[in-house]
Symmetry: C2
Subunit: 522 residues, 2 copies
């Protein structure tokens, strides 16, 4: 089948049982399906508060405007749409961007994977987890911190493929700095295609690299690339387009966005904001600016290619006003996240934010506190596409091998949380309570026997042994257990099958393209 | 003043500014006021789901019943109230317990502290943080794990006194096992009175020890003990009464509950449940049983002393079906917590649950993930009295010095989170956005300059320095920084003033009582 597993109408009461099935698959080493949440979203602003942020975003778009730099074609699009274009500054009257987006952007779309069972819906009640993105360094207990290589990149693609709770292979999981800057996208995109069959992200660092990503996707998907119903390309790549906050888009990002939009590939328009540096030091100010920038970027994509899938992205954290370094897992970014998720729902587009963000340098308690303080809001707010779910350390400067394993475990828990409470007869367990009665224990009762294997989320790395057992096993901490886990996983990894002809065609394309221009450091 | 700082009617828009003020006090080393939440609660069940749990709780109370063991007086109370008493089994028709509770239990009450500025409201939109409770062991980086002593107990009372984000001194923070079991309550209660001026908890391990706690409180509060308006004692102690789940109360807890209720002191009626052992392995079953047990216990307190303050408590986690050890921070207990908080609100009583629970043995990433996965739901669910906010390790077997410091930091963040989004003009920060404009940075703008000191929650122990700076400072992890923090705090601790006459009277009482019966190990 070409569509993600359809969400058949199920009674609310079967939620828990679904979660159990999911948990069972997790233990069998297979992948969990993407999340379809069965509990509500959490909101921190009421209608009045949300409307205020929207009005302020409109004011920013109308009075201050957004700069579209070094891209005359972009300005022409805006002029044609009726915006006020003054130099590179684009001002839009209140409501204009919203109207453009709502006229053509899909509320929800499917990103197809080469293995159709891995295709994912983006939007609505769905949540999809992808690995972290963009680190120049990697860290492990064995080697400490060092520059990332292509081997690291492949390792993380493999680990993401093996991770039951990740539904996506991600993009630039880490920068393979051992390869020339202008050619490493070939190896990254190829690694996603070869070592995983989960959906993936394309290159955005140059319009040509975006085009290469599209061409490689055409080879990978072959006859499946075009949707026979619409004769348009299926959406098979999702791509991260960052605004240069405050209120600026540059030619690189605009160029990549145009390539992808014209090919009907998805873009995540994300103001990347460290409040205090790229936005005001307040939550409400940061939210209004984020919304303004995202509205402008998404509207631009719809002007270029009406109907192309777009996602409202928000990456907002704060900086330490002492060191200037970014901070994560603090309360302010959580508040921005809750507000932005609600604003995306009101706009009617999928939402990307959150993850397991932290400023900690190592996978210690700081990393865990900060990550959990980001991932829980991510899930309760109703984020649809969660980049940076696993591996993030040091404000994104390093991908952590142990951190990756820890985060995958946490993402697994979120599947159970978002499945909500099973209110079926079995979930109510009244027979168990009747059978056991006062003062006895439930360990041996029929209901416990029937349910214990799937009753609770089981972490593969948390230690829940007795103190004595834990000591006897070496008094290991979570990072040490995670270290053993990723090594075992890589040792046992087996690649998903890939048609050798497709593989050869991909390698031919890469070889040909790589030979056609010189290496570069930029 | 005798009342906690009143919550004057403030516009929603001042929320953020309040939080800033709070954050400023935190940095000045003074205490934050108890939390009055400005964002909504999160719920996971709808009306139908909650009503189902209530019906099941009623069925348990009517069909199965609750055992009141070794306490004929308790059975007499139930008989007089019209319950069906069969041996020690008490069955109540549907709605009876609810009716008894709603007829007399206060929705919200004040626990008075000897320093009136530290008095706290329990219930409503308020959240109060107290330290962990009940560990026989302590753990520090220096000494590892060992049995707790009175010195440890005093240390934690001092650390809780110094912790800006803790509003309560707690109770049996750790067991001073160097003292005789039947006399250590004197030293514990005295330590709370002497080394802190925050509100505290009394002894519940024997009715006589409860009475000692009341007598000592009378000495401490002197003429302030009786409320002149009602001629009844003020509520100055709050006490943890656990059910012997499943569906059993024992004479020790009932005896202590009666002493406190008759003295108008508060009781937290808490089914202590590890699902799979003391309740069914499901969330809905555990919630129904918890509600049934708590309803029965709270109704009993109201029969003994109508109007005595009671709190609905829920301590629900699960056990590892492999090792039998308790597990914490997993999704199932979070779901129980959200459901129970909603059920307490429907009943109209204050709610106690959550904290910073974990199964981890050491303050590593596991401890932090599990703690955050408990504390965030605790705060979003709207828990009123949070026991176990700081120090908890190893399923409650150990109080951790470093863990305590970490948890206090997390509790500090929750103050900011629950203050919500500042929507004032300053919070909207439109002037800053206008001043800076596209492509510039906000670091130097007037709004940032005016707000940066209070803009973001600042952790005293998280590392937010550059990587190079962090390395130069020794590549410390969070536990190591927390280690330095608690030592510095204890070194700088100064006791709050206590009237020497009161102090002497307390010591006289203790000396006299200790001399009046032999030491015992039970």
């Amino acid at each position: 089948m070409d569509e993600p597993q359809s969400t058949s109408p199920r009674s609310r009461r079967s939620g828990g049982r679904e979660a159990k099935r999911a948990a069972r698959s997790a233990r069998a080493g297979t992948s969990l399906p993407y999340i379809t949440r069965r509990i509500g979203v959490y909101e921190v602003l009421d209608e009045e508060g949300l409307a205020l942020i929207e009005r302020n975003a409109d004011l920013i778009l109308a009075e201050i405007g957004i700069e579209y730099r070094d891209d005359p074609e972009a300005l022409a699009f805006w002029k044609a749409a009726g915006a006020d274009v003054d130099g590179v500054r684009v001002r839009c009257p209140a409501g204009m961007c919203r109207q453009i987006i709502q006229a053509s952007a899909p509320r929800e779309f499917v990103q197809h994977a080469r293995n159709p069972a891995r295709s994912i819906p983006v939007g609505g009640k769905h949540t999809v987890f992808a690995p972290a993105y963009g680190s120049p360094f990697v860290r492990s207990l064995d080697e400490g911190r060092r520059y990332a290589t292509l081997e690291d990149f492949r390792n993380f693609v493999k680990l993401a493929y093996l991770a039951p709770s990740l539904h996506h292979s991600g993009g630039t999981i880490c920068e393979p700095v051992d390869l020339p800057v202008n050619k490493r996208h070939f190896d990254m995109v190829y690694s996603h295609m070869k070592y995983s069959d989960k959906p993936f992200m394309g290159s955005v660092t140059h319009p040509e690299r975006a085009q290469d990503s599209v061409e490689m996707a055409k080879i990978l998907f072959g006859n499946d690339y075009l949707d026979p119903a619409t004769a348009k390309p299926k959406t098979v790549i999702i791509n991260l387009i960052n605004a240069n906050s405050p209120m600026t888009y540059d030619a690189t990002m605009l160029g990549a966005a145009k390539v992808y939009a014209r090919a009907n590939q998805a873009t995540i328009i994300t103001p990347f904001i460290l409040a205090g540096a790229m936005s005001p030091v307040t939550v409400a100010g940061t939210a209004a600016q984020t919304l303004a920038e995202a509205l402008s970027g998404m509207a631009f994509v719809q002007l270029v290619a009406p109907g192309a899938p777009v996602v409202l992205g928000s990456f907002a954290s704060s900086i330490s006003m002492q060191s200037g370094a970014p901070t994560f897992g603090t309360p302010e970014p959580a508040l921005v996240l809750y507000a932005m998720a609600a604003l995306a729902r009101r706009l009617g587009v999928p939402f990307r934010s959150g993850g397991a963000l932290c400023g900690a340098k190592i996978p210690d308690a700081q990393a865990a506190f900060e990550s959990a303080n980001t991932l829980v809001p991510t899930c309760l707010a109703g984020v649809n596409f969660v980049l940076h779910t696993a591996g993030w350390l040091e404000g994104g400067l390093a991908m952590g091998y142990e951190k990756f394993v820890m985060d995958v475990d946490q993402a697994g828990m979120m599947h159970t949380l978002l499945a909500g409470i099973d209110l079926s007869e079995n979930g109510q367990a009244m027979d168990a309570i009747r059978e056991v009665g006062p003062g006895k224990h439930f360990l041996g009762c029929a209901h416990t026997q029937a349910n214990f294997e799937t009753a609770f989320y089981r972490s593969p790395i948390a230690d829940n042994n007795s103190y004595e057992q834990w000591e006897a096993e070496g008094s290991l901490d979570l990072a040490q257990r995670a270290n053993a886990s990723w090594k075992k996983q890589l040792a046992e990894y087996e690649a998903p099958p890939l048609d050798p002809a497709v593989d050869e065609a991909l390698r031919d394309y890469i070889e040909r393209r790589k030979a056609s221009f010189p290496d570069s450091k930029f």
